[in-house]
Symmetry: C2
DNA sequence: TAGTGGTCTAGACCACCCT
DNA sequence: GGGTGGTCTAGACCACTAA
């Protein structure tokens, strides 16, 4: 492991264990460099990571300080913006089932061409799945994937985990993703499969998942029951790159 | 401006203007360093910024490449996760009005203590505002702020822009924020002020805004009309910091 | 004015990709 | 094996904070 990551990890542990307290100034970069037997640039890089992770902040000319509430963040090692399918997110002894409602191949419509940056002659998978958590209908997922990017999908794969197949079997590595969240009225499918009444709102999440190189891999529109899902995210204030 | 930012800006311009094309390999770091009269480390830092911004990706041993669709991102200089109040976000000749429905001082409840990390004896402002965009009711904002952190708020300030007052007059600098989005059924206020019917869903966004040092400044719950607001965000895949 | 963080350099070595 | 990115160092200078 890179040395700056080791240093970042060690400092994170110290924050977590209370060796460096909230609101407290931690040793200066020079001292840390000496302690870890490394250079100041490397220490700086480690502190930058912790800053992005929301654990510390620096004041030029003054020092580096532990943020309030930093401990909460230090506890959990998970990364914000992590891309895990629902299957992995369930955990906790809850039983997640998937029912494939529809599995077709067709040409994309205009919106799908736009989102996936493909020609309208490039065929796509059209997948509709119902997710059931602990016997309760949970979400309706409509997924569009260009066939060329993820060949040989079968109904059997969809019954297990599509993401496991893409990541594990095909060796695909996900990159960034863009999501848009709305509240919408339930449509016929929501009423039928999610058991929504007319008054039950739906949380609609549309997402485009990209590969490392920026190629759109998957366009999905997911309808969540309003009483089973909420979405959280953290905006980290960053340097104004670009003038 | 720091040299690495200048380099990042110049490369961004080249991507935007098409000098470096999508999917194309850009010159190696050594060449760029020579061209810009700087060191390779500085070029690397510039490329790291562009990578975080989603414009390029690197493959060790191979080179640095322009992402597909990078141009779209290069066009707009705005930052994801930017903290702008609605007043600034309106723009576009649309008329945004604010109506203060309620402006009180009281002690916080348990949830507010929890979110704002304050004692239950620390008084807070309790603000309810209706936002109106182009004569149409837009959102209902319920804002809780510890008095000690933002003193001397007046109804007059709320009629202008609270964020302008906090940032401009008080010189407060915002840090990170955490948001949670849900779809909920309209309550009595939503029906009255947002003109929601029983079937109109509401997009509820609860947010905690932090100061640079990690102190929670503001806890807000905003109800948006489902047909006027959607929320977008980008998850950037980052290095797995921490082992 | 002393302490501290931000940036930059020149050179070095390693890891990885590709032919 | 040559090309390229990832990391690291020692030293330097500047910018800012705090007393």
């Amino acid at each position: 492991m890179a040395k700056y990551k080791e240093v970042a990890n060690e400092i994170r542990k110290r924050i977590k264990s209370g060796i460096y307290h909230s609101e407290e100034k931690i040793p200066d970069q020079e001292s840390l460099a000496k302690e870890f037997g490394t250079s100041r640039v490397t220490v700086k890089k480690a502190l930058d990571m912790l800053s992005v992770a929301g654990l510390v902040y620096t004041i030029q000319g003054s020092g580096t300080y532990v943020k309030k509430n930093a401990v909460n963040l230090a506890e959990r090692n998970i990364q914000i913006g992590q891309n895990v399918g629902l299957t992995a997110a369930a955990g906790e002894r809850l039983e997640l089932k998937t029912k494939v409602l529809d599995f077709n191949v067709r040409f994309p419509d205009e919106e799908e061409c736009n989102q996936l940056s493909i020609m309208k002659e490039e065929p796509v998978y059209d997948i509709r799945r119902l997710r059931i958590l602990d016997e309760k209908p949970y979400s309706l997922e409509h997924t569009i994937i260009p066939i060329s990017l993820a060949p040989n999908i079968t109904k059997e794969i969809l019954n297990r985990s599509l993401y496991d197949y893409l990541q594990g079997d095909l060796g695909i590595v996900f990159g960034d993703n863009r999501q848009t969240v709305r509240a919408v009225k339930p449509d016929a499918n929501d009423k039928q499969y999610l058991h929504c009444s007319n008054e039950d709102p739906v949380l609609e999440v549309s997402k485009v998942m990209f590969l490392e190189r920026g190629t759109p891999l998957e366009y999905s529109i997911v309808h969540h029951r309003y009483d089973m899902v909420e979405m959280s995210f953290i905006n980290v204030s960053r340097d104004g790159l670009f003038g």
